[in-house]
């Protein structure tokens, strides 16, 4: 993990969590053309947890690390599930339709590139940052 001072790291992750929560909410509820409850419920939960965790970090409440861990676990689970489902679906479509050309591969690659940083890389980085060191949290 980087040697970022605890206060600066707290600020960074707090802002990142709030922005990620907003991004998920806007992306799903304003960006997607149709409503589908599995996606809507997952996105709603993730957005709420991310914003709450970010605010908790920025405000510096005592239970912030616990909330961040919960938010990261949910984000990681949903993110990995999304990418896995996307990859398996692409494999299924390629099996049904045969070679799909560079266009299909590019679109899938871009979708994965959009999802991975926010729902996989960021929560992983936070979980590593919050790992117990001598029994103390990092905030």
């Amino acid at each position: 993990m980087c040697a970022m001072p605890a206060r600066a790291a707290t600020l960074f992750f707090g802002v990142a969590d709030v922005l990620t929560g907003a991004l998920v909410a806007v992306g799903v509820f304003a960006g997607l053309p149709a409503r589908w409850w599995p996606v809507d419920v997952g996105a709603g939960l993730l957005a709420a947890l991310d914003v709450a965790a970010g605010v908790a970090l920025l405000v510096g409440v005592r239970w912030a690390p616990r909330l961040v861990r919960v938010a990261c676990a949910v984000s990681l689970a949903l993110g990995l599930l999304t990418v896995t489902m996307g990859a398996v679906t692409a494999s299924w479509l390629a099996g049904v339709y045969g070679p799909v050309g560079s266009g299909g591969a590019l679109i899938f690659g871009l979708v994965v590139a959009l999802v991975l940083p926010y729902t996989v890389a960021l929560p992983l980085a936070q979980l590593v940052w919050l790992r117990p060191r001598g029994g103390e949290d990092r905030t």
């Binding site: 692409a90 390629a94 099996g95 049904v96 339709y97 799909v100 299909g104 679109i107 992983l124 590593v128």
Partner: protein
């Protein structure tokens, strides 16, 4: 979580995901073997109805039922569909079922209680069940298999309920190769001016046959049943009239086409010509729009110019006055007029400004009113500068196919190098979007689409070719280098060959005429896509117009190889 633990988890996840993907692909991919079909489905079709079916071991085998069906239905067509591969299908969830077939290539085999039933691609095409599963109204597209219809057919053939098929039957995907006479496929290399011209005139004759005695088109037709589908649209009526008038001239005065053009123009004049304040306009009810009025001008100009009825020049003058009154000082047009309130509404819709620019240019060519030329020039200048200028505009272009036709039409009176550069950029962008022969499992070379799994629509190939042939004409007249000219012609050949491959040319016994109840009614039509056989009048209009323009340009290019840059390759008579 420790860093090492996190890294291990990520590696495990990546390996597991890759392995799952490989397994899924292997389970669902087909490996067709055309030389060893597992079975051959023999079908007898008469006027779009299946009247006999048998499953044979080999194509050469005979079957008493098939022979009897052929004897009972003179003129029926025997079709063999060889099953060259069979594989797994996901019947649940419904969304997976919808996307489990390659449209036009795949069918379904259902096994239940020792019996087997097939739904072949021809069965699904006759029922228009491909690309009907899920409809996105916002983008006017539908995707996927119509699962209820497919299950109903299987249920009928197995003598059980659709629920039984879904719950108890073993379903599999079959890849089918059809053995039936087909006409020779047009390729970009085999495309000639004569082929293109004949295709354009066939499209015009289709429209003419489907114009009633009042001049109203059969706007939407489901081709297999020849049934009319509800709906109508004035801009498309005017656009189809414009093409008919143009085709009448190109045909050397084919009376069926010419008379249909006159009837259709009369229908606009008698049913859609309104008062917009002191001026005349085209619309419906309390509102008139620039698009309908512009396309009506295009139709009326052609009718007056070609001598079908010179009196239409008077209406051209009146409607051009209306278009000019809708123009803003910056050249843009206000697209709607509120007839009740008596003033324009400054909103913009897709296509209308380009249509108005072309209409004003054509009006000037006919009537020589300098105000029309000035208005057309200002509108074109706005379209190629102010209307499409923002950060990133070089990398993204709107759907567009009228502006470049207007720029080409104006070239002999007000040439604009900026407009030509705009059109070359637009055409280069579209070449990037164009599918190549291996980009999808369908016949897509020269098509534009929204993804490899959605059957590409044919209309964009037609409408964008209209604009591309105009750009090609301008580039040649401007003396632009060959490296700018050749890609335009190459991309257009691919799109036009695609349109001709899918245009209905319905000789008896030739695919797909046997799937039509009344093939003569829809002969010459251009379908929505390879598998969407609901016919709308603008499909034939755009494809026919593109073919006609390219044929004119190709003929002229052949005849005047030595022509100097700056001279038109188009056969204009004004």
């Amino acid at each position: 979580m420790k860093l090492r633990t996190a890294a291990r988890l990520v590696i495990v996840w990546v390996v597991a995901t890759v392995a799952t993907c490989l397994l899924v692909h292997r389970a669902f991919a087909l490996r067709p073997d055309e030389s060893h079909p597992s079975a051959v489905v023999a079908s007898v079709w008469s006027a779009g109805t299946l009247v006999g079916r048998a499953v044979l071991a080999h194509e050469a085998d005979t079957d008493a039922g098939i022979d009897a069906a052929l004897a009972a239905h003179p003129g029926a067509t025997l079709v063999h569909e060889s099953i060259v591969a069979e594989g797994a299908i996901l019947a649940r969830p419904p969304l997976a079922f919808m996307f489990s077939l390659v449209p036009g290539r795949d069918g379904i085999a259902a096994r239940l209680d020792g019996r087997i039933a097939y739904v072949t691609p021809d069965d699904l095409l006759a029922r228009q069940a491909y690309d009907r599963g899920l409809s996105l109204g916002a983008i006017q597209l539908s995707f996927g298999l119509d699962v209820p219809t497919t299950l109903a057919v299987l249920a009928e053939r197995l003598g059980v309920s659709a629920r039984d098929v879904l719950d108890r039957a073993s379903l599999s995907r079959i890849r089918v190769v059809r053995h039936v006479p087909t006409r020779p496929a047009v390729t970009p290399d085999s495309l000639t001016a004569d082929t293109a011209r004949r295709g354009a005139l066939a499209a015009a004759r289709y429209l003419a046959r489907n114009t009633d005695s009042d001049g109203r088109f059969r706007y939407l037709i489901e081709a297999p049943t020849n049934r009319r589908v509800p709906g109508y649209d004035w801009p498309r009526h005017a656009g189809a009239t414009y093409f008919l008038a143009d085709a009448a001239a190109a045909s050397g005065g084919d009376p069926d086409i010419a008379y249909a053009a006159l009837r259709a123009a009369g229908y606009i004049r008698d049913h859609a010509l309104l008062r917009c304040g002191p001026l005349r306009c085209i619309g419906d009810g309390g509102f008139a729009d620039v698009g309908s009025s512009a396309l009506a001008i295009l139709a009326f100009v052609e009718i007056a110019r070609t001598g079908l009825d010179p009196a239409y020049a008077l209406l051209v003058r009146d409607l051009a006055d209306f278009l000019r009154s809708q123009q803003r000082p910056d050249g843009e047009l206000m697209h709607v007029y509120d007839r009740t309130a008596g003033h324009p509404i400054d909103v913009q819709s897709l296509y209308f400004s380009g249509e108005a620019t072309l209409a004003l240019s054509r009006a000037h060519a006919l009537l020589h009113d300098a105000r029309d030329l000035e208005a057309a020039t200002r509108a074109l200048n706005h379209l190629v500068h102010g209307a499409w200028s923002f950060f990133g505009s070089r990398y993204y272009w709107s759907e567009e196919h009228w502006t470049c036709q207007a720029a080409d039409d104006l070239w002999d009176r007000a040439p604009s190098q900026d407009a030509l550069d705009y059109c070359l950029g637009w055409a280069a962008y579209n070449r990037k979007l164009m599918y190549g022969p291996d980009d999808a499992p369908l016949d897509v070379d020269g098509a534009y689409g929204v993804g490899p799994f959605v059957t590409p629509r044919l209309t964009p190939a037609g409408s964008r070719s209209e604009a591309t042939v105009a750009t090609l004409d301008m580039a040649r007249r401007a003396g632009r280098p060959q490296e700018q000219v050749e890609p335009l012609d190459g991309s257009m050949r691919r799109s036009l060959a695609l349109l001709l491959r899918h245009q209905f040319a319905l000789s008896p016994g030739v695919y797909p005429s046997y799937l039509m109840a009344e093939p003569e009614a829809v002969d010459g039509a251009v379908p929505g896509s390879e598998v969407d056989w609901v016919l709308r009048i603008d499909y034939a209009q755009h494809a026919g117009n593109a073919l006609l323009r390219w044929a004119e340009a190709a003929s002229a290019a052949t005849n005047v190889q030595a022509e100097q840059p700056g001279e038109s390759l188009r056969t204009k008579s004004w």
